[in-house]
Symmetry: C2
């Protein structure tokens, strides 16, 4: 069947569906753990469709990683913003979000870091580096608003706690990692924050859906 009998021909929707399904499959099986054939079978498309949309397996991988990074970063930033203006509440919200992520079924660490560990190619590494940049920006902002002496330093230290917690959650102890990291993060923030921060009102938060599996593929019209 060339075109599904009741389906709508909509390249944009097809592309999005491929991206979504491929994200899960590549995360579960590993970038090299599933071939293009298996990928297409799992997604439910033909090879030609995949290659028309993404040109190459590498192209698909990069698109997947970019979208994933965007989604995770927006999700975490949204959670922080939704927690209000208090930097400590924002930090708590970030690690709360991480805790749910760690507990999600099939959690296997950060998809971006895993990908960078598998493909040493420059594009993948660049996407991963930008991903860490986004984390760093969020955490440095929190350190700034908390009145840290050296927000850049504290931001990097918080980044290490986030990444370390993710590693430990993936390989050792998924349950308590986020809580222990949060406690350490709050301690770190306190000891480097001599003065009370000035709190200013912030705009309304927009809810973001979590980056981990939350439903199944939606049927097309």
């Amino acid at each position: 069947m060339p075109v599904a009998k009741g389906s709508t021909i909509d390249p944009a929707r097809t592309r999005a569906a491929i991206l979504s399904a491929a994200t899960d499959l590549l995360y579960e099986r590993g970038l090299d753990g599933i071939g293009v054939a298996g990928l297409c079978a799992g997604i439910g498309i033909s090879k030609e469709t995949l290659y028309r949309h993404f040109g190459t397996k590498e192209g698909l991988v990069e698109a997947v990683l970019r979208e994933r990074s965007d989604r995770v970063a927006r999700w975490l930033a949204g959670r922080a913003q939704a927690a209000g203006d208090d930097p400590r509440a924002q930090l708590t919200a970030v690690f709360d979000a991480l805790r749910h992520w760690y507990a999600a079924p099939g959690f296997r660490g950060c998809a971006l870091l895993n990908a960078a560990a598998q493909h040493h190619a420059d594009p993948v590494r660049a996407i991963t580096a930008r991903h860490l940049d986004r984390y760093l920006e969020l955490l440095t902002g929190i350190a700034e608003r908390a009145g840290a002496d050296d927000p850049g330093l504290v931001g990097r230290q918080l980044l290490m706690l986030v990444e370390g917690a993710t590693v430990v959650a993936a390989h050792h102890d998924s349950a308590a990692a986020a809580d222990h990291a949060l406690q350490a993060a709050l301690t770190l923030l306190s000891t480097t924050t001599p003065r009370t921060p000035s709190v200013a009102p912030s705009p309304r938060p927009t809810p973001e859906s979590p980056p981990f599996r939350v439903g199944t593929v939606k049927p097309r019209t």
Copy 2:
């Protein structure tokens, strides 16, 4: 040439040489980034030799990872022990060692974690988990000797700092990561250590060679 003209036939030495060369190659190229043929070419052996010693590519990989974990763990523990009895000095020694590791040419993160990100197979994951266990044991010991209220908790937090620093060093900032992490670690240790630890004499340290590339393959007799 079936057997190198001036070489000694010594299976144990051959095995060790394969292990050493394969460790570097697999780390540089990734577990799936190099095939058995390329591996043998890079090591300078024939396929038959590799398969006689390790049975399978997976067998080789597991042997490489096990040996790597042993070496890194011994190296870090040795550095800590060589720093004397003061837990803070031991912690400093650990992150000093890490700093040198991060600065080594070709550093690309923890080989064990990278491997676990590539092969989801149980044996590899088990070796990685045990690796983290060893780190945790070392760090918890330091927390204990520092007189921490909850050495287990502090140990896990220090573990997150170590792993987080490694991730950040690999993908973001290899220069300052160890120092920033050390500062955070000392802060953490201080705030959770109300009482002064009792210092007892410890046995003499044995020097350990670093786990990263430090020379080239030694010629066989």
